[in-house]
Structures are given as structure tokens and as C-alpha cells.
Assembly symmetry: C2
Homo-oligomer: 320 residues x 2
């Protein structure tokens, strides 16, 4: 085992931080680290929380951390802000939160901006999550800042997605982007003591009633919370664990894992292939000429000519 | 020559419309059409206009159409709206514009949404532009709705980009996204009769003075227009043609063309490679297993194993 991975699995926080930074910086060790860390993937229950700014996500996540620590679970938090270039320790409202938990080895908080996200924020998040899983986190909470496309992409790494909505605040179901409504596994109506909470719950119910089918056969429950008072956290967590049980029981979790693995392997293969072609173009002027269309041929014709030169076997093993 | 291409080059509008629809629909004829249409690429001067909604882009584009028609030039207009799923004839405020020009064979207007943009809106736009170039357009105006990332991508197809700003309107240089300021080849201060125009020009000048270098050695000029009164169109067009002359003279246009050709050829090669791997996975269960990580190996290890099986030649022609 890589010495860093050994230290991470022994619960060494500084080793975990160092590994995440190496991964985000695309350091030479990255590949070797990820190769070993991969084995820890799937150990934690990864739960994403999203919703408009002001919906109370941070307070809610704080309540969930306290709840899980009360159960003796080890908790990781990944706070993702696609609008920030910075990654590392302290982002968002995390400084206070991190100070509060700094003495508790059972909580690990990490922020992520776009800096280390060359291959996309979702891929970068997935890579960092392996470290938190190796560190022994039972649950990892992925908190996003807003509800943009980047946030939606990041949430594909989560097993369970909680969408946090509040009464008033313009968070009406009709006005919410359909993309974000589609990925919710649990609807959280936070600030449920405010007027309009019943109305919001009804709107979500109506929307759910209109659906003819549900993704992965899961009908998302609606949970009311008042995060500022710690109310509803147990109901919320019970809904979240029910969802994980459903994913496991129905084979959905294994299915998702295979699909993600396939996408990641294909992405690595495609980048190998691109490097291979670029190397050929560096070595051979005629490859360069065809790539750049020096003879006036179109890209399709050029690509077909180059493809033929690659001499790829029609069948593996060189069968005819 | 493909009969459709023949008709397009003879100035048949319906043939042009049909070809664009076939291309956008990813029809079987698409590849054959693009292969032949490619030869017409680079004939037209492609000029993009972007800027916040309300900056007066449509009025400005109308003035430019009238100006160019007065010079006897054939004009194409591609109006791109990434927020719309629809492509074809009438989008944006184009219905009126199209009616006005419907009797003029020297103007061709086409709208584009995201429907036909499977490989990205920029690629889809570039493919449609080939048709307009084959149709004989001397100038093609690409008009975008807003200033989002999709619009920025689309504008990479343009030789010259005009950024339309207006006094007041929150279009201050400091608040404008830097991405959009960076791609401007000509700054157009429209509604230049409004108070604040001098201030806006000064802001742009200050920003330009702070730059230590310019992309492709081109210092973007600032042009004032009052599009609603047709004022400044000649100065605007003179700045735009100066830019094209600079691109040609400095070899930048040829350089851009080579770069774009390389990217397009690489994209075709990558999609061939992906299909090849997917075909192998369909044929051979062990490929499928490795792609999906059935044995628990990580994606990097799996990809390397598959790569070795591809047996790609180390050098073209099978040299050692």
C-alpha cells in the first residue's frame, strides 16, 4: 500500500488532506493514489444537499452532522462551490463550522472550487470522495452552493440527493428548474414553521402525483424540517437511509456503480487515444497535415484516412 | 456533386433550408453533404454580434444587413438562441425581419436552437454556416441572444466578434463578464446618443490600455452607433473589415482554420474510437466486464488492460 493511503486508512487527517491536494493538483502521484483508493469506493453513503442560496442548507447539514455524530458515525463533508476557483480547507460559511469540529476526528470537512477540476467538477469530486471513504467516513455529505448545471453534475456522485426548499422565497415548484426537481430523492421543506409550508408541500405532492413513473422506482418522500431548531432531522435521516436501502435492495446501487465505472474507464481510454494520436502527429508530418486539413479535405475524410492507418484489429486478438 | 449541394450553389433557397434541416436532424445524408460543403468553408466573412439583451443587437444587425445589401453583397444571418429547443425559420424577433426580406434572394435568415446541437452548439452552427457559404453569402452575421457560456462557444466560429454595449443598462466594463470582454474584436457602443456614452467609451479605453498584449496582435477599436437611426453603421463595418484584413495579413485566419480543422478531425476520430470500443464491448463479454469493473479493478487499470488489447501500432506502418 502507498504510505499515504496507509496513513489515511489509519485515520491520519493530515495524510487525507495531503492526498486530496495531490489529487486536485493533478500531481504525478495522483494516478497511483487513485488506483489504490478506488477499492474504498462505495463504503460510505454519499448524500448530496442542494437548493437555492438561503434555503438553509448549511444549517441543515450542521444538524445532520450533529445527529450522525450522536450515533457514533464518522462524517465527511464536501462543500462544492463551482463559482470559486479555490479548493482546500475553508470556503463558504465553513470557517466557523470547521473551527467547531476541529477537535473531533469523527468529522472531516473539505471545500472544493474549480481549481482541481480539469476533467470536470463531478470527476474531481468523485476522486476526492475516495479519500474520505478511505479515511473511514460512514456518511459523506456533499453540499452545493446553488442549483446551476455544475451543481447538478456534481450531484451525480451522490447516492441520495436531498433538495432543500423553503416556503415563500420564490421556491415554488412551478418556478424551480425541472432539472433540479428531477434529481431529488428526498424533498426537504425547511423552515417548515413559516407560513406557506403546507402550500409548498401540497405543490410538491401534486407534481409527484402527475408523474407516470419514477426514476429507479423510487417515489421521493417529502420531509419537513426546521433546521434552526433542529426539528425534523431524525425524519430526514430516516428518509435518506430508506432511499439507500431501496437502491441496494433493487440493485440500483450496483447498476449505478457499473455505469459510472464504464464512463470513467471510457474517459481514460479516450484520453489515451487522444495522446496516442497527438504523439503520432508530433512524430509524422503527414499525420499533422491530415489533422490540419492541409490538402483541403474535410475532417470526416481526414479522420477516416487516419483511422485506417491506425490498423486497429477488427477483432481483439487479431482474428479476421 | 450531391444534387442538393448543386442546387444550393445555384442559389436555391429551399435546397439550402432542406440541407440545414438534414444537418441539424443528424440525417443519414449529413456526412455526405458536409463532405462536399466543406470546400466552401472560409468563403464568407463570419461576423458575430453579442451583448446583453436590450443592447440593440437586432436593430444593429438590421442596419448592417441594409448597409451590405446597398453594396450588393449577399448576406446570411444565423440567429442562435441556446435557451430555445427549436431551430429553423422563425425565432427571436425574426418573424418580422424575415417577412421584410422574404422577397430578397440576397438575404438568408436562419434561427438555431439546441435541437440539432448534439455535438455542441458551436459545431452545429459551424455545420450550418457551410450551407450559407455554399449558398454564396459574402457575409454571415451570427447573432446571439445573451452572453452565456453557450453563446461564447458559438462565437468561436466567427472571424470577427462585435460586442454590443450600451450606456447605463448595467453594461459597465467592470461588471461585464471578463470572458465576453476578451473575445471582442470590435467594441460597439450602441445608443451612443444616450448620456453615459462617453463614460462607457472611456471605461473601455482604460481597460484596453491596461492590457499588456492583445490576442492575435489586434487592438480592438471602439465604434459608436445609434442603430435606431442608422448612425455609425459605415464606421462599424469599416472596423469589421479592417479586422478581417488583419487576420488575413497576419496569417491568423489560416492559423485559426488549421486549429479548428484539427479539433474537428480529432473529434471525429474520438467518436470513431468510442464506437469501436463499444462495439468490442458488445461482442466480447470480457471487454464489457473490464469496462464495468466487474473484477473490482480501478478505471485506470482497466483502461490500460483494454488499451494493450487494442494492439495499436507503436509507429504507423508497423515499424518497430
Amino acid at each position: 500500500l502507498h504510505p499515504l493511503v496507509e496513513r489515511i486508512t489509519a485515520g491520519d487527517r493530515r495524510a487525507a488532506a495531503r492526498a486530496m491536494t495531490l489529487i486536485e493538483n493533478d500531481a504525478p502521484e495522483k494516478r497511483a493514489l487513485l488506483r489504490e483508493l478506488y477499492a474504498f469506493g462505495g463504503r460510505a453513503h454519499i448524500v448530496g444537499f442542494t437548493g437555492s442560496p438561503g434555503a438553509g442548507k448549511s444549517t441543515l447539514v450542521d444538524q445532520v452532522i450533529a445527529y450522525l455524530r450522536g450515533q457514533g458515525q464518522r462524517v465527511g463533508v464536501l462543500a462544492v462551490d463551482p463559482s470559486s476557483p479555490f479548493s482546500g480547507g475553508a470556503l463558504l460559511g465553513d470557517r466557523i463550522r470547521m473551527t467547531r469540529h476541529s477537535a473531533d476526528p469523527g468529522v472531516y470537512i473539505r471545500s472544493m472550487g474549480t481549481r482541481g477540476a480539469v476533467g470536470g467538477l463531478a470527476k474531481a469530486a468523485r476522486d476526492v470522495l475516495y479519500v474520505l471513504e478511505a479515511y473511514g467516513c460512514d456518511v459523506i455529505l456533499v453540499e452545493t452552493v446553488g442549483v446551476g448545471q455544475s451543481e447538478l453534475d456534481v450531484l451525480t456522485v451522490a447516492d441520495t440527493v436531498g433538495l432543500v426548499l423553503t416556503p415563500g422565497a420564490g421556491d415554488h415548484v412551478q418556478t424551480a428548474k425541472s432539472g433540479i426537481m428531477e434529481i431529488a430523492d428526498v424533498y426537504v421543506v425547511n423552515k417548515a414553521d413559516l407560513p406557506g409550508a403546507d402550500m409548498l408541500v401540497r405543490e410538491i405532492e401534486l407534481m409527484l402525483r402527475d408523474k407516470s413513473s419514477f426514476r429507479e422506482d423510487w417515489r421521493p418522500p417529502i420531509v419537513r424540517t426546521v433546521a434552526a431548531q433542529g426539528a425534523g432531522t431524525d425524519e430526514l435521516w430516516s428518509a435518506v437511509t430508506n432511499h439507500l436501502a431501496h437502491l441496494k435492495h433493487g440493485g440500483w446501487r450496483a447498476h449505478r456503480r457499473r455505469k459510472r465505472h464504464r464512463e470513467e474507464t471510457m474517459a481514460v481510454l479516450l484520453s489515451m487515444f487522444r495522446r496516442h494520436v497527438e504523439w503520432l502527429a508530433d512524430e509524422y508530418p503527414d499525420w499533422q497535415d491530415i489533422l490540419e486539413g492541409a490538402a483541403g479535405e474535410d475532417p470526416q475524410t481526414g479522420a477516416e484516412a487516419l483511422w485506417d492507418r491506425l490498423g486497429l484489429a477488427r477483432r481483439p486478438g487479431g482474428d479476421p
